[in-house]
């Protein structure tokens, strides 16, 4: 790995760890290996959003040409969000593409991710199914996103109705995650979800 990249990551990492702003926003950053090519980020779901109470793990890959090229970031924690793929966790964010600046730092990236959780942009979707739901029924979207936060990101409270529907399909022998995806896609109608899985 290039000298500049390593030196920069080391210093940046140190500053993020002691930064007050970062602590205030519930952002954590840790190294995944000694070669500074991979980081693990953790962001808290912003208050007054369906993601509140959840903790989301980010996988951050540092290219050898960092910081002249941006890091590649994706969600490890499964999340229901128009701009994040519910399948791969891939994110489409301009600050990691053409709006990347060599002086952008990790706290800025993490804060931008939190901002994205607080304000989805359904017109520039990464996940078409989620984006459609967001546009057609905001309530159903919110409930579904909240349910996913409970199921995957450690949110304490849950929707009893959605839980029981997932449980119902699970008891019929379907995989829990597959059942959840199908229900989320098919407006939480059990029959349609079943058909969706079987087709």
């Amino acid at each position: 790995m290039a000298n500049i990249a390593t030196a920069r990551i080391k210093r940046e990492f140190k500053e993020v760890v002691k930064s007050e702003e970062v602590a205030k926003c519930n952002i954590k950053l840790e190294l995944k290996n000694d070669s500074f090519t991979e980081l693990r980020g953790e962001i808290a779901g912003p208050p007054d959003t369906p993601y509140e109470g959840g903790n989301f793990i980010l996988d951050i890959q540092i290219p050898a040409t960092y910081p002249f090229n941006p890091p590649v970031v994706k969600f490890v924690t499964k999340i229901w969000h128009p701009n994040i793929s519910s399948v791969t966790g891939a994110v489409c964010l301009d600050i990691l593409k053409d709006q990347w600046w060599v002086t952008s730092v990790f706290d800025y990236i993490c804060l931008s991710f939190q901002a994205l959780l607080a304000a989805p942009e359904p017109d520039d979707p990464q996940d078409a199914v989620v984006a459609n739901q967001y546009k057609e029924s905001k309530d159903e979207f919110k409930n579904t996103a909240r349910h996913w936060t409970y199921a995957y990101a450690g949110r304490p409270t849950a929707s009893a109705e959605y839980d029981s529907k997932v449980e119902q399909l699970k008891n019929m022998g379907f995989d829990e995650h597959k059942a959840r995806v199908a229900l989320s896609t098919k407006h939480w109608i059990v029959e349609q979800a079943m058909e969706h899985i079987l087709s």
């Binding site: 500049i4 030196a7 920069r8 080391k10 210093r11 940046e12 040409t65 910081p67 002249f68 090229n69 600046w101 060599v102 002086t103 952008s104």
Partner: protein
Amino acid sequence: MNSEDDLFYNDDDSAHEMDDDDDDFVEMGIEPEPTSTNEKTDVEVFLYEVLTTEQIVQHMVDCIKEVNTVVQIPATTTRILLNHFKWDKEKLMDCYYDGDQEKLFLEAHVISPFKKTPNAKKRTTRATSAAVAASVQQEVTCEICYLALPATLMTGLECGHKFCIQCWTEYLTTKIMDEGMGQVGTISCAAHNCDILVDDATVMKLVKDPKVKLKYQHLITNSFVECNRLLRWCPMPDCGHVVKVQFFDSKPVSCNCGHIFCFACGENWHDPVRCMWLKRWIKKCDDDSETSNWIAANTKECPKCHSTIEKDGGCNHMVCKKCRFDFCWVCLGPWEPHGSSWYNCNRYDEDEAKKARDSQEKSRSALQRYLFYCNRYMNHMQSLKFESKLYASIRLKMEEMQQHNMSWIEVQFLKKAVDVLCQCRQTLMYTYVFAFYLRKNNQSIIFEENQKDLENSTEHLSEYLERDITSDMLVDIKQKVQDKYRYCESRRKVLLDHVHEGYERELWDYLDSA
């Protein structure tokens, strides 16, 4: 040709550094033109020169210098301003002296050279602490690599953002090599949200790798060439030459690499058809939608087994060849209730159906017309591709004749014959594009006669060169070949002159619907 160019440029550098373009051309006019023999008659009246990448950089620098003799600002600021005005010197001058200069600098994203200090202070954001630290301790942290370095290793632009030299070099290299320079060929300061552009001198100073330097030069001249109506890159891949003309026109130009192309549109030289129609034609051919339109208009799916059925006659009573289902072409319903009389589809409005049938007929005949011209166009294009084979066989013939006591000069008529054949094929190819968009009138009938004559004479020449030549006595060949190619040349001239005259006298009507 090269020695001429060198002479011209040395001369230019030493004596006429500040001369404007027109003087260059007067000089070029005195010198014999670098032309290919093929298009000599066309080229003589149209003056142009072929420049290398280095020469085009020099040309750009001269252009900047010229403005700078009037406008006293740094050269790179001028380049950015000229870029902003698409290299229109007059427009830049007008705006510079008549308008709000500060607004102009702001719009072109360049710091005003007259307001360095106050602006730099105001624009400094994150760099402030670094700058203050520099004056106290002489050691500064680079905001990119986070290394604490002596202030002497830090550098930056007028905006006040400073980074270490190594980081600057890496940053610029990444931008240049990863196509990060955008359309106008500029790089902005590395600081977050700072839109101040890096000037050329700084780039050339900070980038060390000659390969990166060359790419940068190419990128900055690219916008210079593309904004300048009097310059065009040779369209051959990896050629890198630029053709410079005296005035913009649709004329053939011959590059140093041997490629002859239309200066106005960059396509192969396409007389007699004009650039606009050729462009339309190429788009039409590329779209390939014609064929799919025909399929849409003339085939349907069997409503029962979904196999594709082509309508072959006027009758709407269709029988699927596969499942033997009887149905109506118009409404796709079963044929049974339609009765036995011709066209009695009760589910379809009679007029609507008639309209649909007419438009189907129209689209079919339009397609047939297109295919007629397209086939002939493609045929000549295909034949042109075989030219290299003919050149090879003719070369053998020339060697054979030289062994029979004919001199090298004496046998050149054979090569000339193939040259003429290729010219005629190229002309013919484009006559079909011209004809496709042409509305029938008295002149178009004359044109078609000329086209037919050129077709016939060209085919005679082609046939003779490819086949009959072997059976003739060597002594007879020269006379026969010369007669044939001279006749072709004259027919080609007649056709082109007639079309050109038609352009001048506005005798041609065009079909807009084609």
